[in-house]
């Protein structure tokens, strides 16, 4: 078994927010994964942005998601500057309850050789710099035996 996957050293991960993205990160502090859904046409979008790209509305409902996700694509990063020993499973995930929106994240605590497109995941939260929390993903043991349809 290879070294288990991790994240960048969490204390060094910094984020910044603006008026469009702040609710996403405030919800993460409460261990909730949320996504903005246009209050007029229902289109989800990530990253959060000031306008709905479908209808240009600025009205948003912040929807709390189940935290389930599937791997749309991924890369296994072997070492980053200053941390040559790190193994990261960097993933782009589809969110089944926010269709059309994707997140870029990490799958943690797994054997990098087992990550596949379509692998079912569930969200977790890691404390990072300045009191924020970062959504990351773990392989979903409940869904693994009955995988979601591969994307």
């Amino acid at each position: 078994m290879s070294t288990l996957t991790t994240t960048l050293p969490p204390a060094g991960i910094q984020i910044t927010t603006d008026s469009a993205t702040e609710p996403f990160w405030q919800a993460a502090k409460e261990n909730r994964l949320v996504a903005p859904r246009c209050a007029d046409c229902g289109t989800f979008r990530l990253p959060p942005s000031p306008f709905c790209p479908n209808c240009q509305s600025q009205n948003v409902d912040w929807v709390t998601l189940s935290g389930r996700a599937t791997v749309f694509s991924f890369s296994i990063v072997n070492g980053v500057p200053g941390q040559p020993e790190l193994t990261l499973a960097a993933v782009v995930v589809d969110l089944p309850d926010a269709p059309g929106a994707r997140l870029v994240s990490n799958v943690v605590d797994t054997d990098p050789d087992t990550v596949r497109i379509g692998t079912p995941l569930t969200v977790d939260f890691v404390e990072i710099a300045d009191g924020w929390k970062l959504p990351v993903f773990r392989v979903d043991p409940a869904a693994e035996s009955a995988p979601l349809s591969g994307t």
Partner: protein, 398 residues
């Protein structure tokens, strides 16, 4: 306009510094490197630097990563008396080929007569390979940077993975692009990499961002390249055989957008290069098909993006790029469409797309080191990257 001309504008001069490995161009400055390239392009064209009255940049006039170029500084240091046009395409390397279209637009509008496009870069303050990991956090990149995808190759490895999944593309295809480029560089006096690359070398290399290894990544080099564009009428009186601007296009569609900086591309765009709309416009403008292209200078920051551009430019069907390159189709010797006869950014030097324009000019002039016999039309591309991406078709003047 058609591929047989007459053309309205032409490239009349190209110039470059030597190419250096990272750190090797010191103690020259960005302005010094760019100035040397501009003067060399003027010498090539038989023009005085005082004839330059326009600047058409890309990358927002950025010079590599975190440095910039400035028209007033060039005027002051090179003694250019008056400038009547100074503009840049937005975003990054995706605009390299399209910057010649910006020069053309200035000339056709009557806003300038001799327009220079220049790129210079040094990689000591910031190297390409980790540029995305090093920038300050922003609200936008806070949705990307924490993942540890620290450089553009890391980001594009995610697209490569999806292409492998969707179409069965093999690492052997990426290897062939690296090996073919290296074979072309072996005969190039200025190439940084001049030792043969084998399939064993490729498969034994460090996996930087699996599925991509060291040899899938372009070089981190330094130097400067400048290109001079003028009207077709004026071009006929200059020193070198003019190279016609057959067609130029930049832009792209919202579905590609910021590409691997947002990853929101719908499935049918994700494992692509974002160039399909550019290809369509270029071929329409030129009145040609991919079969008419004699040599393709394809922006090669990372091997899979060459493969996906070959698909988007119609040299093979979507999804068939892997078998297409594995068949030897892109080889200078024996291929059906020779690609990156100069060794590209993978093996000659990475100057953010400019070396591809130079090679396109030399192929059409008939003076390339690895000359494609009787090359009449050359395709040059910029990107794939955050929009705009761009393309350029160069041809022999009628």
């Amino acid at each position: 306009m058609s591929a047989s001309g007459p053309f309205d504008t032409a490239i009349v001069g190209v110039g470059a510094t030597p190419y250096y490995r990272r750190g090797g161009s010191a103690p020259q400055t960005i302005t010094e490197l760019a100035g040397k390239a501009i003067l060399a392009a003027c010498e090539d064209a038989g023009l005085s630097v005082r004839d330059i009255d326009g600047f058409a940049y890309y990358s927002g006039a950025g010079a590599g990563y975190g440095q910039s170029m400035d028209t007033a500084t060039f005027m002051e240091t090179l003694g250019i008396p008056e400038v009547t046009f100074s503009a840049a395409l937005t975003s990054g390397g995706g605009g390299s080929a399209g910057s010649i279209g910006l020069a053309r637009a200035a000339i056709l509008a009557g806003d300038a007569t001799v327009v220079v496009t220049v790129m210079a870069l040094q990689q000591v303050k910031q190297r390409l390979g980790t540029v995305f990991g090093a920038v300050a956090p922003s609200p936008e990149n806070s949705f990307l940077q924490p993942s540890g995808l620290v450089g553009p190759g890391h980001l594009m490895s995610v697209l490569a993975r999806r292409h492998m999944h969707d179409y069965g593309t093999r690492r052997e295809a990426f290897a062939e692009i690296a090996l073919s480029s290296r074979a072309n560089a072996l005969t190039r006096p200025k190439a940084i990499m001049r030792t043969p690359l084998t399939l064993d070398d490729y498969f034994n290399a460090r996996m930087i961002a699996d599925p991509l290894c060291l040899f899938d990544f372009c070089l981190e080099t330094e130097g400067a390249v400048a290109v001079l564009t003028t009207s077709a009428e004026r071009a006929r009186d200059l020193r070198r055989t003019p190279v016609g601007v057959v067609a130029a296009a930049h832009g792209g569609v919202r579905e590609w957008g910021r590409a691997f900086a947002w990853y929101g591309m719908p499935d049918e765009y994700f494992a692509s290069s974002g160039h399909a709309p550019i290809a369509r416009r270029l071929y329409d403008k030129a009145g040609i098909t991919p079969d008419d292209i004699d040599v393709a200078l394809i922006y090669d920051h990372f091997t899979p993006m060459v493969l996906m551009q070959l698909e988007d430019y119609g040299f093979c069907k979507k999804g068939e790029g892997g078998p297409f390159v594995e068949s030897g189709a892109i080889r200078y010797k024996g291929g059906s469409i020779p690609v990156n006869t100069h060794g590209g950014q993978l093996s000659e030097a990475y100057i953010i797309g400019m070396t591809h324009i130079v090679e396109g000019v030399e192929q059409i002039r008939g003076t390339a080191v690895n000359q494609v016999p009787d090359a009449k039309l050359a395709l040059v591309t910029g990107g794939p990257a955050t929009l705009p991406v761009s393309g350029l078709i160069l041809g022999q003047m009628a």
